[in-house]
Symmetry: C3
Subunit: 470 residues, 3 copies
Amino acid sequence: MNPDRFLGPHKEIARELFQGIESLPLVCPHGHVEPSLLASEEARFPNPVELFLRPDHYILRMLYSQGVAMEFLLDTDKEPLELWKVFAQKFHLFWGTPSGIWLEYQWRRTFGMEDSLGPHNAEEYYHGLAEKLSSPEFSPRALFKRFNIEVLATTDRATDNLEHHQAIQKDDWSGRVIPPFRPDKLLSFQAPNWNDELGALQRLVSADVFIYQGFLDGLRERRQYFRSLGCVATDHGCLTPFTDRLSTAKASRLFDRALRRNLELAEAQSLQGHLLTELAGMSCEDGLTMQLHCGAYRDHHRALFEKFGPDKGADFPVRVNYTRGLEALLNTHGAHPNFKFIVFTLDESNYARELAPLAGHYPCMRIGPPWWFHDSLNGMMRFFDQVMETAGVYNTAGFNDDTRAFCSIPARHDLWRRASCRWLSGLVADDILAIEQAHRLADELAVGRARDAYNLTAQSAAVAASAGST
Amino acid sequence: MNPDRFLGPHKEIARELFQGIESLPLVCPHGHVEPSLLASEEARFPNPVELFLRPDHYILRMLYSQGVAMEFLLDTDKEPLELWKVFAQKFHLFWGTPSGIWLEYQWRRTFGMEDSLGPHNAEEYYHGLAEKLSSPEFSPRALFKRFNIEVLATTDRATDNLEHHQAIQKDDWSGRVIPPFRPDKLLSFQAPNWNDELGALQRLVSADVFIYQGFLDGLRERRQYFRSLGCVATDHGCLTPFTDRLSTAKASRLFDRALRRNLELAEAQSLQGHLLTELAGMSCEDGLTMQLHCGAYRDHHRALFEKFGPDKGADFPVRVNYTRGLEALLNTHGAHPNFKFIVFTLDESNYARELAPLAGHYPCMRIGPPWWFHDSLNGMMRFFDQVMETAGVYNTAGFNDDTRAFCSIPARHDLWRRASCRWLSGLVADDILAIEQAHRLADELAVGRARDAYNLTAQSAAVAASAGST
Amino acid sequence: MNPDRFLGPHKEIARELFQGIESLPLVCPHGHVEPSLLASEEARFPNPVELFLRPDHYILRMLYSQGVAMEFLLDTDKEPLELWKVFAQKFHLFWGTPSGIWLEYQWRRTFGMEDSLGPHNAEEYYHGLAEKLSSPEFSPRALFKRFNIEVLATTDRATDNLEHHQAIQKDDWSGRVIPPFRPDKLLSFQAPNWNDELGALQRLVSADVFIYQGFLDGLRERRQYFRSLGCVATDHGCLTPFTDRLSTAKASRLFDRALRRNLELAEAQSLQGHLLTELAGMSCEDGLTMQLHCGAYRDHHRALFEKFGPDKGADFPVRVNYTRGLEALLNTHGAHPNFKFIVFTLDESNYARELAPLAGHYPCMRIGPPWWFHDSLNGMMRFFDQVMETAGVYNTAGFNDDTRAFCSIPARHDLWRRASCRWLSGLVADDILAIEQAHRLADELAVGRARDAYNLTAQSAAVAASAGST
């Protein structure tokens, strides 16, 4: 692989900057890797199809968009090699896409393949990868170490018992894997299964979660439990970034209506928005960084969803706004010295218009890195271009890979780090930054900002290390 | 003219790519050229003012915006040279604009002028152009051949009798000119002249179009007629991309209210949105590619419109959204293997946010090239930058020139092809694509994707050729 | 400082262009400098903290966003040096931001400092600057001359008595300082202090401003007064660019309701929108250029506002639209030959979608330069990229620095001029412009377009000169 790839027009400066950060550990404070993979020394990845293709909605959607049936893609009875061959034949669809870049990196660098995938070498490629996957050197834990991962956050429901995290902590393994606290389902007051989720919460906490104040206390209890297993952040997904602030009486009343299943849509939104503000308040108390991911309209293709379930590539961004949407939350807790609030967007028109100005004022706020469809070279360059002048590097949250594809983690950090250095090299070339300043900012973007935004300080690392060795 | 123009910073790579596609035929599946121009061997272009200036709303609007009265611009009693001189004097207004680029190409390359237009050479320029225009070498059909046009689509109302298309097909001429099916006026249920248009339809079809099901059948009959003259696509213009799906009973009821002229605005939108879904269903049946152009607020400047009519440069884009707007249509027909659906936008904020993700999932969907105000070098670069990483090249529809200015066709394809190669050369320089991959994608962008999106396969070309020689 | 800074990849062309415009005078038709600074030969700037830091909301917001308390930042009892030291320690927050670029320019070029500011030299830096500020060479008037300012517009309420402007005109000083007419507070019909403002107006004019027609006449009288002191433009700030056109009877009725304090929100918006159209009509009469700045949601952080007042960095952009919003005004006065209308935006998604097409049609309209959060190198490049192809250079309004920081004026023009030449050099490199064309456009962008948009012709300059010498 070309050592100067993605470094752009000022290659010499960018290369110098990149060399300074290339071997820094990978800080991964937000992602979707299955913790079970790391819960045991014996865990292995399945075959190449189950590793690279089937769980990756980026791959599924692209093949589907060009006529490969979802029935075929998800048929686990089929010989994986058959599917792999179709994939190889259609691999030109991924030329120039981030998926193509990530896969190429994994195959070449992590798995040592010498060629690109194409129809001519599909079978050989498959067997070459499969062989490696079965060896201990390519076990998840071995790769965790080889990838030089400093910390890896998974995604866990507030009502998850975190058994894999417990196993990891109890085990004599030094890897740091932490569970974010994600209470979305408890806040989906109109979802058909909300009561079930509330019941699940009740079984885990001492508070009476069927009354409003008890519900809040129940959330607090779970946060404390998550923190005991290393949790440093919460995560919240919602369609639009609407926050609200209700009186306790009003919130209680709406909560009771939710319990009786007769909450109107506007009331549900109001209660959800209010809960986001309440949860921000809990972050002020317990120091968990709050993450907000919004703007994805989920399961747009309903027939597909009904047949194959969620996360099949039919989630699409919608326009949102932050200036008005976050007003209640930011006015209530935005200046609290203990509060860190990371906001992600799928609507890039907000980068320069709303997010950078907001983060450039409110002490709590940091802008999350380009997310999902924008987690690409151009997406990153647009982020740097549109965010940094107004927010400044220090009001961003560095990078997170946000991936469920464990093996793609180094590829994603590699792309981000190269893109950062590309951006910084332009500032040096334009005499906006001195090279020493650029070095410092490259470091911040690679690891510093992420550690700071998620309170992953040296101290926390020490705690985790001691926890790991307990 | 500089052979490396527009090729950008990686000129050597871009030039190599461009040389590979420069002489490919021009595939023109969407445009506004008058078919009468090509209906006879004897047709000639009028004088330079009537060719380059008066019919071009890009030119009119710019001159008007800088103080040239529309009365003067459109006064056909005036000596054309007088207007040409004003144009020459104001030609600096077009410096750096796509209009300037297109004109320069035509004058220099097609008409062999040696200089740029300016106040100093206005008269000489006019006469030089006028002389050429009167010669047979510069007849529309001669230029059609010289331009190497593989196929040219015009724009025709669903109730047009297509006499010029008939003349072209009957004539002993091999040029392929095809009529798209554009039923907008039949779907403008609240327009004052909707009933007239419906009456025009009734005179052309056997179905009773004054009842809802008959109206649908009438549309089907016309589609079949258009197809008999080579039609491969329909085209739909609307303010916003709203689609809906009504029961037949509901649709019939609204249609009846439309006939009685008492449809409310929201009902009209709903019926129109439903008809778009129905027309998509017809495309599943008959294989006509469906094009959707939306986001233009027409005739904004009402005094101007009332005095001079439409298409005088006072149409302006408005913000639209696709994720929700296309939901009904895509959920109903989006996965049909026979359906191709090309969506164009004037609201670029949708490129990365909505269009690329949607096209990267739904099998039917392709993203149309930069349209109207965005059909420019920067507009194209933004398109490549914001669309390709997520949608991939294969979910786009290649290029169409969308012009009513016949002579500008090669200039527009030239710009697109150069811009494509510029974009691809950046990917090669960044080591994202190998040069062979870039060659293949350049070819796809120049001709392959357009042929595929409009089903203009080799087979169709053969059919057309045989039709032409009948 | 690097003489090639910001000039981009085509440095040689850009440098040649920049050398042609570098020493042109600074035309400053919109800004927020205090006229009192220039009202007397004896005026001096206070210490570095009061000059560079405290009045600059860009600086305040960034320090605040990274944990410096507003109480500390605004405590005038504190030793300024103490604050300066904190500023120096946090100066890395401004790396890569326009504030950093502007400050660097001032310190290095205007004040001759040899180094950048940092924790190591904070005290020395402070004293070095303070010493210079106390000398006559660094008085506001001396700098006005040194900066080569051709004209400087301030920001003045419609009810301001303009005493400083009177003093400047009476004084034997040749600097041209002019007062724009800003009637926002008179149009804030629902503001608690609207009646007070109306009372202030009444004390200044002969018309009876408590009836609608008299209110209009009162505005006319004030416009005339402002014009007598050199005013060439009005300025209007509003949340959204909504304009309306009411009958006089309806407008009178709403005005009466406003007087009785029982105007509904929608009525207030309608009346305000109507007044914008009326004020455009007055511009047709008296030739004052009309400026519209919209899209800022003010005082978002209410606790901060209540404690420290406005302009503390808690104003944030919101999404707006122009195509529909400006329809009433443009339809009523958009083609008037005497009317110039400059529109600014904080929502960049409108550049290519709405503003460039509108300005490329309506004779009155010009697009203002990148404003506020977008007044940066990247913001300017996005402006050039997204506006120019459609609007053309001649439908823009050149540059204005829009600053309250007098000393930053040359830095801001320097950045704009370099960015212009960077943009133009790309067009020359791509063979879109000949170098002579680029020289002419560079000149237009530096001074020509601003003079033209604000009617700051040579004639006006002469009038001002004679007024200055009276």
